[in-house]
Amino acid sequence: MNHFLAREDFPHLLSALTQAGYGCVGPQIRQGAIVFDHLHSVTQLPQGWQDEQQPAHYRLQQTDSPYWFNWSNGASAIKPYTFAPQENLWTVQRDQSGRLRFQATLPQPQKTAIIGVRACDLAALALQDQHFLHGKHVDPYYQARRESLLLIGVNCTHAAATCFCVSTGDGPDIRQPYDLLLSEIAAGFLLSSGSTAGATLAAQLPLTPASDAQQHTAQQRMQAATQQQRHLPAKPPLFAHLDHPHWQTVGARCLACGNCTSVCPTCFCHQAVEIPDLDGDTSRHERRWDSCFQPGHSYIHGWQIRSNATDYYRQWLTHKLAGWHEQFGRSGCTGCGRCISWCPAGIDLTAEVEQLV
């Protein structure tokens, strides 16, 4: 955190990104929540807005503070920018001789800079990278989008009541690779670069050396976000409690809508559907986000393994918090708390784990 960018000079960052060929994406308010969308001007940023989150509850409140990033997180992580909610994988065409020709439909994404990525979401991105890029088979669709991204992280200064990144070890300060990293103080931003692309951009900005006082203020503001109300044990032994009666209690409350998996920044399950064209000779193969809360998720050759909310929830939680350790070497939860806020029934995984182990 050696440099300082004055708030009034922030538009220089947007111009530098545009000149370097990046489309900018940043936080803004839509339908009562912070969402990521195309960012053309700093006036779109949620100045003074702060989120209030509780189980099944998300509200924004405006304050007269000058801060643009004084909220904890929004309705969605950056997952849709890498793992598309729905996308074509290939098309197939039957030619005159009756032969089928398959053609991959790889995305050709525009270079995109995402401004305001949080520590929990960068940690989740690292996990998604592990799944989609670093396994035996690289997913070229994910890869194309992932490589088009430039990530501008912002350290958190406010923790919602649903946040617990301190207990998962993923925040509130950013600990994963980034291109540029910002810490917001009233007068502007402390800035450091974490990649060649980030350094090239930083070199074009009117930066000054950050003073000790500025660094101290930034540190103090970040410290405030470490005060969190929720906590998740590091490795809850859920597989040892598969028959615990509390699974039934949660199952009775769960609507099996799958919203927890949609908003989860690490969930990666998907389904594929074949969509035939009316012409009878072409068809496209579409991949869509799936959820272990949907009946089709556990359908295997004529047999559906899980068919009720209790089994769905147990599958999700045991995989996320226990199975991931074997699969990926760490928990699948980065403490963003979205599954708590965006669950219409207000089911809180930290409270459920406490009951279960």
Binding site: R30, Q31, G32, A33, V35, A56, H57, Y58, R59, A75, S76, P80, P85, Q86, L255, A256, C257, G258, N259, S262, V263, V273, E274, I275, P276, D277, L278, D279, G280, R288, W289, S291, Q294, P295, G296, S341, W342, P344, A345
Partner: protein, 219 residues
């Protein structure tokens, strides 16, 4: 090889599902090149008793004549697909199932003796075997076209077995229940509409019916 034949039948309903099909526009012309639409009153073709490969049925069963007619439709069709809330669940007219229908006849009509109206409005599947149900009020045009297209080309129509929330989240909507406190039936309603209502800031009112009851009997 002759084109597969299709008939669109109407029972007690508002015609909205037929209109959803008519609204397909260019895609309907494309469909008309792959199938022979022999009966579709809303579009002008009339051949109600023709033998067909696929019958699309709109509306619920409300009269003795309906009961007789749906049996004929079943006997004349290879596949019978019900479309819309009326055909699959009885529709808004099934509200009378909970009340004294005869009492209403007496109270509302000057000459109730002219009515041939059953005491209940019932789904098509309560009277004849149904091969596939397409829900919604009205149905999703794309879903009807895709089901027909799959069937014509020998594939089982893929009907999503998930909740509206799944489509809503994929669409990138913010949950109106959580962020605005609006009542929304998305968490328990069958997907298929593409989460139209929440995309316009209002809660889902469940026109696709509860998830988990959709019947797809085509092997």
């Amino acid at each position: 090889m002759p084109l597969p034949t299709v008939a669109v039948h109407k029972f007690s309903s508002c015609d909205g599902c037929q209109l959803a099909l008519l609204n397909a526009g260019e895609a309907l012309l494309q469909l008309a090149q792959r199938v022979n639409i022999v009966h579709f009153a809303e579009a002008g073709m009339l051949a109600e008793t023709a033998l067909v490969d696929i019958a699309l049925v709109e509306g619920s069963i409300n009269t003795n004549h309906d009961v007789q007619r749906i049996r004929e439709v079943r006997a004349n069709s290879r596949y019978l697909i019900t479309m819309g809330a009326c055909a699959t669940a009885g529709g808004v007219q099934a509200l009378r199932n909970l009340q004294d229908a005869q009492g209403w006849h007496q109270a509302i009509y000057a000459h109730p003796e002219y009515l041939d109206s059953l005491d209940t409005a019932t789904a098509i599947a309560q009277h004849v075997k149904v091969d596939l149900e397409l829900w919604g009020c009205p149905v999703n045009t794309q879903q009807v076209l895709q089901a027909l297209s799959s069937l014509v080309h020998g594939a089982t129509p893929a009907i999503p077995q998930e909740k509206v929330c799944a489509e809503c989240k994929r669409r990138g909507n913010v949950c109106v229940l959580v962020s605005e406190g609006k009542p929304c039936l998305g968490p328990s309603t069958h997907a298929g509409c593409g989460a139209i209502c929440p995309a316009f800031g209002r809660g889902c009112y469940g026109c696709y019916g509860p998830q988990g009851v959709i019947y797809a009997g085509i092997p």
